[in-house]
Symmetry: C2
């Protein structure tokens, strides 16, 4: 049923980052580290600042993995060998149910981490929507860092909880909202996650099929929902793969 079965690109996993061990301690420092996601800074192998955030672990990544559109990043059921940071691109996290229907739990974008809630085996399949660049940290490295630093453990919990919140928000949307409302919420969330200013137009990397499988709708209904939102002036679409949310529209 599902069309996107393309697989290719480098399949990393273990090789990449069997980095050395960042040891111990839980000295408290600053709260929010700046260092968002930079252009790869070669890690100085000798100096090892204690990682205070999950993100810091990726600073030791020796290189970046590239994925072509529609290629598989991790496969549902496979052993977890690493955790991934999305440097750029969009990833869809999905499963196929017994009847062959696909459910996309979420689209993960730049800055998101794959594998925070996957203990032993991946509980979803991750595929590249567009061109995706990842950095990875070996599972063993991660475990060491976690036991050494309770703060990291806490951040992990926080991140998983955020996933939970998102899922429950999605649950609410599926349970109560009509197609156009679901779509609008999705578009709003998507642009928010991407840090869009609301001024400029946001690119929609995924196809209608992907959106449909995310919102639990058919592609036709998604298409109609787009039309509804456009006609009612809630969104603006220069092309079918870019959009902008229009201000709340002063209703009566």
């Amino acid at each position: 049923m599902t069309d996107s079965t393309a697989k290719s690109s480098t399949s990393p996993d273990l090789d990449a980052v069997t980095g050395q061990e960042p040891t111990h301690e839980n000295l408290y420092a600053e709260q929010k580290s700046p260092a968002r996601h930079a252009t790869r800074t070669p890690p100085p192998a000798h100096e090892k600042p204690e990682p205070q955030h999950l993100r810091d672990l990726f600073d030791n990544a020796t290189f970046e993995h590239h994925y072509q559109p529609d290629s598989t990043i991790v496969l549902h059921g496979d052993r977890v060998q690493a955790m991934y940071l999305i440097v750029s691109g969009t990833v869809r996290c999905c499963t196929i149910d017994p009847e062959g229907r696909r459910q996309i739990f979420r689209f993960a974008q730049k800055g998101a981490v794959l594998g925070v809630a996957d203990i032993d085996k991946w509980h979803f399949t991750a595929e590249a929507v567009d061109h995706v660049i990842l950095r990875s940290v070996a599972q063993s490295t991660l475990r060491q860092a976690l036991t050494a630093n309770p703060r990291l453990c806490q951040e992990l919990v926080t991140r998983i909880c955020e996933l939970l919140r998102k899922d429950e928000r999605q649950l609410l949307s599926l349970a109560h909202n009509k197609a156009p409302e679901r779509l609008l919420q999705f578009l709003t969330d998507f642009s928010a996650e991407r840090g869009a200013s609301g001024k400029s137009h946001v690119a929609l990397p995924m196809c209608r099929r992907d959106i449909a499988d995310h919102l639990g709708l058919s592609i036709e209904t998604v298409s109609r929902a787009f039309s509804t939102l456009k006609n009612s002036g809630q969104i603006e679409m220069p092309t079918f793969e870019s959009y902008r949310i229009c201000p709340p529209a002063p209703v009566a």
Copy 2:
């Protein structure tokens, strides 16, 4: 809209949990259920074996909280002051969305823990479905135990991940299944969680409204779905508040 706004009973939170004196009372003898195994075994305050599991923390609980049907246990948005173990009864975890519609994320039963994924504030409202008995552990105690014992932290992560899996399973159900299928899956899961043998009949403590708000359906549709399942021989219902899942039914 939502009718179940009843709030009453002992609302513990700070006082109770902080270990000292249970100020207000929780006597309140019989309501429905004759307190399954509510007899508290007095914890030997002096000896404290290192807790290896989250459950162990509750062994030190000095008493048990009782809740009448439809009473509020914790309120969405309130500060988290404790974590709760369900000793008996069924709890519904829900939120009310801006439009006033209620979504029940899950029904928690005996052995479940409330508050594993709520860091600072409760992100849902918990209400007693039937007579509920809880044990609690103060947030501060929990934090101490967590920092002292990485195993506990890991168990916490595992439990949150289980929640995530359940939510995603629910997501899948809402996105792809028709009413009767959703209901059947719910009934199956519910009896499984309760450890039902499959032989005997399972009591349905919650009303149709609750089930509807859990499955994202109207009460009428839930009622019709029950009829469908009964007529097709997939379930058996001696009364409208007890059921039994019938074997897979040998199809062609």
